[in-house]
């Protein structure tokens, strides 16, 4: 004798002799299912008012749960166009003493880029003047400077329209009077690197809404993957999950409570 979760002891029947068949409980008075006298499966909550209340409750909860989603989707993002990393906290940094310069090569600068972002670690009481230059593939140089910035905050410098380039060079020159540490883009194979480049980001300067970037994001998600991974496939698989969940839920709710085997 064992006990299941149904508040009463039951004797577990042995596995059925015929595979795939359930033991049928004796029910001599049960009419066949197509008989009009056959009992109907009780619907729950059972009444129209009950269903309406349930629908309202579910709708209310859906709305409540959806609020953060709507907020997140319509919230504004940085408008990052390119970066040599997106990890925002560094375990290593390059110190730029007054007069030092650090350059990053191979930076992709797409159309619409205006802003260069770096991550100052420690900044002295009087922050140094940093001069930024972006040299495009064609040799065009855009420059600008930052004079006052804080420790631990990303430093964004709007240099105006940057030269569109597949492989630009971004340099930071410390004009003094104090030193500054800048986060590095240390790699997986960091120990083998003589000196990792500093982290840079290239931004558009505006702050588009996240929802407006979904198309771009899906395009980007298809890059550097198998050729069959396209935005359409990603969307299709996402929808397949949702459809699968709905299908599973329908099957679950249709399934009568009772012995499972």
């Amino acid at each position: 004798m064992v006990v299941d979760g149904a508040d009463r002891p039951v004797t577990v029947p042995p596995d059925p002799v015929v595979p795939g068949r359930r033991p049928v409980p004796p029910s001599p008075v049960t009419p066949p299912p197509d008989d009009p006298r056959a009992p109907r499966r009780p619907s729950r909550p059972g009444t129209a008012a009950g269903w309406a209340a349930l629908a309202l409750a579910v709708a209310a909860i859906v709305v409540l749960l959806a609020i953060p989603f709507v907020g997140a989707a319509t919230g504004r993002v940085e408008g990052l166009l390119s970066s040599n990393t997106q990890v925002r906290v560094s375990s290593s940094a390059t110190v730029l003493e007054p007069g030092d310069r650090a350059c990053v090569r191979g930076v992709y600068v797409p159309d619409g880029a205006r802003v260069v972002r770096v991550y100052p670690g420690y900044v002295a009481e009087r922050s140094p003047t940093l001069r930024f230059t972006v040299r495009g593939d064609g040799g065009r140089v855009v420059a600008g400077r930052a004079t006052r910035f804080a420790t631990g905050e990303p430093l964004l410098v709007d240099l105006g329209p940057l030269p569109t380039s597949a492989s630009a060079t971004v340099c930071v020159h410390n004009r003094g009077p104090s030193g500054v540490s800048l986060a590095e883009a240390r790699g997986h194979f960091g120990a083998a690197e003589a000196r990792p480049p500093i982290r840079v980001g290239i931004l558009s300067g505006d702050h588009p809404r996240a929802v407006a970037l979904v198309d771009d994001a899906l395009e980007r998600a298809g890059l550097f993957k198998s050729g069959i991974v396209t935005p359409a496939l990603i969307v299709l698989l996402g929808l397949a999950v949702l459809v699968g969940v709905v299908g599973a839920l329908v099957l679950v709710l249709r399934d009568e409570e009772g012995p499972s085997s």
């Binding site: 577990v12 953060p68 840079v200 994001a217 980007r220 890059l223 198998s226 839920l249 399934d255």
Partner: protein, 499 residues
């Protein structure tokens, strides 16, 4: 077993399919190599897939094969990547990968597995099948990686099948309870993300779920030679895939104590069967260890991983090695789970808050990639509410059925004790790792996922606390919340990598 599967209702198969689709969706969403430790796991699979041999060296640094390295160098969002989502760079990388793929030597590097090379090879051999099949159809490294990720998703779905079988044993007359528990597992976002990557944790999930199911089944139906061999085989699969799966042996041993006690009237046959289960579990690994030095000198990974946010910890090379005394381990264990007492040395000084909160609760709510991004701590607090509600609900359900459940007390103790034992074993590994690496952290929530069947059981049991008329509504709401959780996780992933 086949008869058992044939008797599974369609709804259960639909849940298994949802689990696979969930993993598959993550496999196309996550950038290449951005699963946890995916560079080294890929290196292992690729080496086995190409050579049929296991990599024989453990190296602190991953040195991927040239084709994988070309992808790593070309990718914009890897931790060491070149900039941009440039389509031109993508085309350039594709062309380079195609060119490298022509020469098999570019696909082989015995140091590609790096610090994973000390793990047993079962997962890598299993994944070598989709790897090779994709190669026969002309697939390059990126195609092969997708194929392996999808095969891993199928393995994850298999784990969900075992979770459903476990829940059926636990709630034999309450299908809604096991369905909702299964759906909760299938739609757990970190679970979905993990099974959509290349990682040898995935067979351990299957192993753990199968073990829990067999333990529950044995408690209902008794210990037989077949079941004993099955119990051992479930553990063996985990042990042959990952060294640190040895926590499963603790779960098995603990369960066997209760199983033998339950069958004490015929102990003469029960004890040898317990021995058989243990032998089947560990002998294959011991034999393999004779052939190959499993688990020896596992070097700490040095991936240059920079962890964002609270869990960020960096070993201090100058720090003294922590002591190996049992007392220190107990202190470590206590501090991991509970607030530190005044007389204890602070073993988690690098954690801004509580280790268990950051490592398990916050990560269970959602930390992805190289555990470098996820939900904010504020959003993650919702998970505390959810878990507290589930535990309270399950407690109420158990209390109401306390008289009826007396006969199953042994099973409950075996499962709960098994979870505790497994968690302690993860901490033990973490403590050893911390000593070996002079302070780096080991524990991650994915290491608890072999016990994820118990999370499903918790959800199912909590459902039984509700009046019967509310259960279907509750199932709808649970599934709705779980789906929104998945959508939110995809949202933060899109934002992390692609916006």
């Amino acid at each position: 077993m086949s008869a058992l599967l044939r008797r599974l209702p369609l709804a259960a198969w639909a849940i298994v399919l949802v689990a696979f689709l969930h993993g598959a969706a993550w496999s196309v969403l996550t950038p290449s190599f951005q699963g946890a430790d995916e560079i080294a796991h890929w290196g292992y699979v690729q080496y086995v897939g190409e050579t049929g041999k296991t990599p024989d060296r453990s190296s602190r640094f991953a040195e991927p094969a040239r084709d994988a390295l070309a992808v790593l160098d070309g990718m914009p969002w890897s931790i060491d990547g070149q900039p941009s989502w440039s389509e031109e760079a993508d085309r350039r990388t594709d062309a380079l990968v195609d060119r490298l793929d022509d020469d098999r030597a570019n696909r082989i590097d015995k140091d590609g597995a790096a610090y994973q090379a000390s793990n047993p090879p079962l997962y890598a051999y299993a994944m070598a099948v989709p790897y090779r099949v994709t190669g026969w159809f002309g697939g390059d490294v990126l195609d092969r990686m997708l194929a392996v990720r999808l095969a891993s998703s199928a393995l994850g779905a298999l784990a969900v099948l075992f979770v459903l079988l476990l829940l059926r044993e636990l709630f034999p007359r309450r299908r809604l309870a096991w369905y909702v528990g299964g759906l909760a597992v299938a739609l757990q976002p970190v679970f979905g993300w993990l099974i959509g990557s290349v990682n040898n944790d995935i067979p351990v999930l299957v192993s753990g779920a199968a073990l829990l199911w067999l333990v529950a089944r044995t408690h209902r139906r008794g210990l037989s030679p077949g079941i004993a061999a099955g119990l051992g085989a479930a553990v063996a699969v985990g042990l042959l895939s990952k060294v640190s799966a040895y926590g499963l042996v603790a779960v098995l041993a603990w369960s066997l104590v209760f199983l033998v006690w339950r069958e004490r009237a015929r102990w003469r046959s029960a004890v040898p069967l317990a021995g058989l289960a243990l032998a089947v579990a560990v002998v294959p690994l011991l034999v393999l260890d004779l052939v190959r030095d499993i688990g020896a000198a596992t070097p700490a990974p040095d991936t240059g991983v920079v962890r964002e946010g609270a869990a960020a910890t960096v070993a201090d090379p100058a720090a003294a090695a922590p002591s190996r005394s049992p007392r220190d381990f107990l202190s470590y264990l206590w501090q991991f789970w509970l607030p530190r007492l005044p007389f204890m040395d602070d073993q988690f000084s690098t954690y801004p808050t509580y280790p268990v909160w950051e490592t398990y609760v916050q990560a269970f709510a959602g930390r992805f990639g190289w555990f470098a991004y996820g939900f904010s701590p504020e959003a993650s607090r919702g998970m505390v509410v959810v878990l507290a509600a589930l535990i309270a609900g399950a407690g109420v359900a158990l209390w109401r059925r306390r008289v009826a459940l007396r006969a199953r007390f042994g099973l409950i103790v075996a499962l709960v004790g098994g979870f505790v034992g497994y968690a302690v074993m993860v901490n033990l590994r973490g403590w050893q790792y911390r000593i070996d690496t002079r302070g780096e952290n080991f524990e991650q929530v994915r290491y608890l996922f072999p016990m994820i069947g118990l999370y499903g059981a918790l959800v199912g049991a909590a459902l039984l606390a509700l009046p019967d008329r509310w259960r279907r509504t509750a199932v709808v709401l649970v599934v709705l919340a779980a789906t929104l959780h998945v959508l939110a996780s995809w949202g933060v992933t899109l934002q992390r990598y692609y916006m």
